[in-house]
Amino acid sequence: MIANILTNRIVNDIAGGTAQGVIIGLVALCLVLVWRATRVLNFAQGPMAMFVTYIGMTQMDHHANFWVAAAISVAVGFIFSALTEIVIVKPLYHKAEINPIVVMVGMFTLLEAVASAVWTNIPRYPTAPFSSINFQSEGNPTGLSPLSTFQIGAALAIMTLVAILFNYTSLGLKLRASALAPEVSKLLGIRVGRLLTLGWGIAGAVGAVAGVVISLNPGGLAPNMLDAMFILGFIAAAIGGLDSPLGALVSGIVIGVVMQLINDYWNSNYADMVAVVLLVVVLMLRPQGIFTKNSTRRV
């Protein structure tokens, strides 16, 4: 009975879809973090994560093990994202809202080109410490492998950490205050500029985790590896509401599962389109996303 459930086609699709969905949710979470902190939609989120993933994971060529390489990616991800905020985003606060969009698009182009110049377009396949062969149940494959279980676990762990940081620590309180009400926070003596930089840094580190986890997928590590994931992450963030971390996670998982089902039962080409159609429909009905409260901000 249990074996039947574990190897059922739909259950398998849901499990596999969840594995991809949490990663989409992770990318969406980065976008939400940056958006909430600085009202900038980071169009270079994908390439930034890709870039630092390369920096870390290529250390495996120099005999670093997977965990060390991943840690380097995350640390560099933090620093790189924080520096980006200081150097090219800070000058654009209080400017027309298209200016930061355009600058981050420039960053997108630049980073993908540099990555391709340095590491070429040929994908690399970092050796994962987990097998990608699905668990078996009475001789039939289930929807999960040790690798995908690790991917889900890593993504959920990071999300939990971020949630704890933001909701239950003093630093988190200051980070949220700086994002919600920068002027009032300044008047209370909070170093808002520094906290916004920190917010970008955290988003960069989370992005690096996403990058590392995605580089273990069959597509491997390539300069454009996060393009599709960024689009899906954006769709998830927009559907959930750019202000809602929980919305990002939930809609990420929903999108992952829906796409997996479409892949399996219909045609893989349709999956992306269905995601876009979903986005258009949701935005038509609720332009602020599903999970954003319709409350008045700032009193």
Binding site: A181, E183, I190
Partner: protein
């Protein structure tokens, strides 16, 4: 003691403050009165570093404030309760208070306890979101959040705004008590001149960006000729 001298502020071509000089003595409440657009809010925003002046100087307890960042000024012991109170609606009462202590780097637990004794209503509602509070409660929260930083100077921007007369009276009395108990220097910007003058020691009148008088509050209250300035043209 906070002293403002020859302060001029302009937004582009519009002059908001023109050669304003005001002194607010230590341990006293100095009211700044004036009609809408007289530059009262600008004055407070310049003191706390949110607005850069064109010229002039501001010193508070021996520190020159001009050119410092708002958060630095706040950590010098100058608390600014902005117009509309600046309570963060998405935060609970307690989170708002904690934020005040975190910004000023004062002891959170002790501070919370102190403010809860001062404002028992805040203790009752500490888990509620600030958005759910009434206007008077919000003003108390804003005061508590400012006081948790143990400031020496308190800048208040229109605390009576949108409050019923009785609540206003209540808030004004609280301010008076705070000042008397802790030797706090207060600059109280108000459009509601009557309530403000009742609790103030000194009063200054701003009229279209110029300061007209800094005199004991009772004198200002008695001076018929000043009344038209701070009551506006209609009266």
């Amino acid at each position: 003691m906070i002293s403002i001298s020859h302060l001029s502020v302009a937004y582009g071509a519009i002059v908001a403050l023109d050669d304003v000089s005001i002194e607010a003595p230590t341990g006293a409440i100095t009211a700044v009165l004036g009609a809408n657009g007289a530059g009262k809010t600008t004055l407070l925003r310049t003191i706390s570093g949110l607005v850069k002046p064109r010229s002039g100087s501001i010193t508070a307890n021996g520190h020159a404030l001009i050119g410092e960042r708002p958060d630095t000024i706040a950590r010098l012991g100058i608390a600014h309760v902005p117009e509309g109170r600046g309570v963060i609606a998405e935060f609970t009462v307690e989170e708002n208070l904690r934020l005040g202590a975190l910004g000023a780097k004062t002891n959170v637990t002790a501070g919370l306890e102190e403010q809860y004794t001062l404002f028992p209503v805040l203790k009752e509602r500490r888990k509620q979101y600030a958005a759910q509070l009434s206007g008077g409660e919000r003003q108390m929260l804003a005061l508590g959040r400012a006081m948790i930083a143990n400031p020496q100077i308190l800048l208040l921007d229109e605390p009576s705004l949108g409050l019923a007369p009785l609540v206003t009276q209540d808030i004004m009395n609280t301010i008076k008590t705070l000042c008397a108990n802790s030797g706090l220097t207060v600059i109280l910007v108000e459009q509601n001149a009557k309530s403000a003058l009742k609790i103030s020691d000194y009063a200054a009148v701003l009229h279209v960006g110029k300061s007209i008088a800094v005199r004991p509050a009772a004198e200002v209250a008695a001076d018929e000729s000043l009344r038209s300035y701070y009551l506006g043209m209609a009266e």
